[in-house]
Symmetry: C2
Subunit: 361 residues, 2 copies
């Protein structure tokens, strides 16, 4: 039932991705096998354009991510016009974009041994990402996210978590975590009950191995569901935080971006706060940068904007760029992803940043 | 020759201004007579709407301030459609907006004893500002600034400096400077040759009296003309700097706002950097604030936006508000001024901030 016409697109991207600067990459990688390992929900996205009236008539929370069951997923899927399918998942998108930038990455997440699970696995492996989490057998099905894109380029997501709820501490491969400069975790992991234990285990292994831990807050509603846990995480478990304006103000329950900025300073080593067309603000101790969004972008679909920004930023951090340049790579990656439907890059980001940013020359 | 139909408007504003919170003002003023004394070019503005084709056909630098002679001023004035006249001058606008907020202020600037000089003097005194600089006699005429406002709300200014060139150190009243918490100077003062000596004298007196010195960079082209002087001023003479994005990037000759932000940190006690619709960034030592512009403003004429922001910010500083709240007052004042033609407030800013901001409750 799930159309698969995106697979050729993904393959053609992966061919281009393989051409990125491999010798340079090895020189910079240092003594770890991976720049970043991402841990997140392994999800296949189904995207379709719609209008605001459709969202209203189906009681959807515009701009948010709502959890739904499999029956509802089936019902809503039936209402999508010309749905387009592509592997997704927040942390998985970030890892895919990092691979497109030429980074060495791994991903940990739970699919089922069904057709969608296979597609997810093929897509992420095809772009050079190590993905070895054993699939679940004979249980629920692989997770799907139905994404409705309105004419204002805003995306509204409804997620059936499926097999993702089975991700647990036993799926955390300690060797991969120990061998990754940064372990990157999505806040959505707080929704499936066992995944938070996986999260904590991964963070502990990472720190014991002298590596960094990074968290993306994922979604303002997700922050609302798990505020206390997230606040506690920031005290000790998280070194690099990603959040957009809605998420960081929700976390601290303040009205204004600047108030949240004051709170977050000092609670993690680096915070990269994205503000859509207002760009991003990066703070690390006394260092602070105010970075513009890329100019002249025609925004088609904002799905994955934050994921792509995180990818660019982490690429910068693991390639010895300063915080400002890292944020620039993030902005360029985000601008690429929002210029078309779908959360993963449609053109090789490695070439794009070489073209757009002069610090790689 | 110069139409004077704005005088009734100015009077009606001044009547409203007198109704601002006077008892509170006195309680906060401390042991100085004035919150702020402004020193700047005493100019009467003549504003008219025009289109981009007019700017091009007259070789005008859009968005800038160009110095012209009296003959050119006469010629261009003849080409203005329905010109509107109002007292202006960058620092004078700031002082007028501060008076509208309920501050006690003085102004130092040079007019001629002609009709325009009288109008300028009446307008600034009518709103409660102490203005005692003796007018020049029998020389050139009072300065005029021809302001062309295009449909995009951008203003293009052509200034005949007239009597302003006669402002010199002898015009600096040491008692007023010593009795003002902050001495505020506009960068345009660097254009008339003698005024910079007045500037240095005022700054020295202010510092000897334990007061603060504030500078607005005024204009990117002005910065370009006087970059070395301005850079030198920031090392020791200036405590509080105001600049917009174009000015601060011009000062440090960098392409990007964030680069300029890094340079300016540590070079003055407080820097308040305005970014039009992107809001402002305020930095003071390790403290930094990223403040949004007021939302939902219909921009009619950007003339005086920076002047009004400075007024609000200085009001905040002299009324024991924190930097974030001071920047908010600046944003509200700027939003009022850009919502209509002309650089001075059309409604009493004191009431406006009481209505808009809750820290006054």
């Amino acid at each position: 039932m799930w159309s698969l016409y995106c697979a050729p697109l993904i393959r053609s991207i992966s061919n281009i991705v393989y051409s990125t600067i491999s010798s340079e990459r090895e020189a910079r990688l240092g003594n770890k096998r991976f720049h970043v390992v991402g841990i997140g929900n392994a999800i296949v996205d189904v995207l379709a354009k719609t209008d605001d009236a459709f969202l209203e008539s189906n009681d959807m929370t515009k701009g948010g991510m709502t959890l739904i069951d499999e029956i509802m997923a089936g019902t809503l899927y039936g209402k999508m016009r010309a749905p387009m399918e592509q592997s997704g998942g927040s942390a998985a998108n970030t890892i895919a974009a990092m691979a497109s930038l030429g980074s060495d990455c791994a991903f940990i997440g739970k699919v089922c041994d069904d057709l969608l699970g296979e597609r997810f696995t093929d897509a992420i492996r095809d772009i050079g990402v190590t993905f070895e989490t054993p699939p679940a057998r004979d249980t629920t099905s692989t997770a799907r996210c139905l994404i409705f894109v309105t004419p204002d380029a805003q995306r509204t997501m409804l997620t059936y978590l499926g097999t993702c709820v089975e991700l647990g501490p036993r799926d955390i491969d300690p060797e991969i975590i120990a061998d990754s400069q940064i372990t990157y975790l999505e806040g959505y992991l707080w929704d499936p009950p066992e995944a938070k234990e996986a999260f904590i285990r991964a963070a502990d292994i990472a720190h014991q191995s002298g590596n960094k831990v990074s968290l993306s807050l994922s979604d303002a509603f997700c922050v609302d569901r798990h505020r206390d846990d997230f606040l506690q995480l920031l005290e000790g478990h998280v070194d690099i935080l990603f959040a957009n304006e809605q998420e960081i103000t929700s976390l601290y329950q303040v009205d204004e971006f600047d108030e949240a900025l004051q709170y977050v300073r000092g609670h993690c080593e680096i915070a990269a706060l994205t503000r859509s067309e207002k760009g991003s603000v990066v703070v690390s101790g006394d260092e602070i940068h105010v970075i513009d969004a890329e100019p002249d972008v025609t925004v088609v679909d904002t799905t994955g904007a934050g994921d792509a920004y995180a990818a660019g930023f982490l690429y910068g951090l693991t390639h010895h760029l300063g915080l400002r340049d890292a944020a620039h790579v993030g902005s360029v990656a985000a601008a690429e992803v929002i210029s078309h439907m779908g959360a993963r890059p449609a053109e090789p980001l490695g070439s794009l940043i070489e073209h757009k940013l002069d610090f790689k020359n």
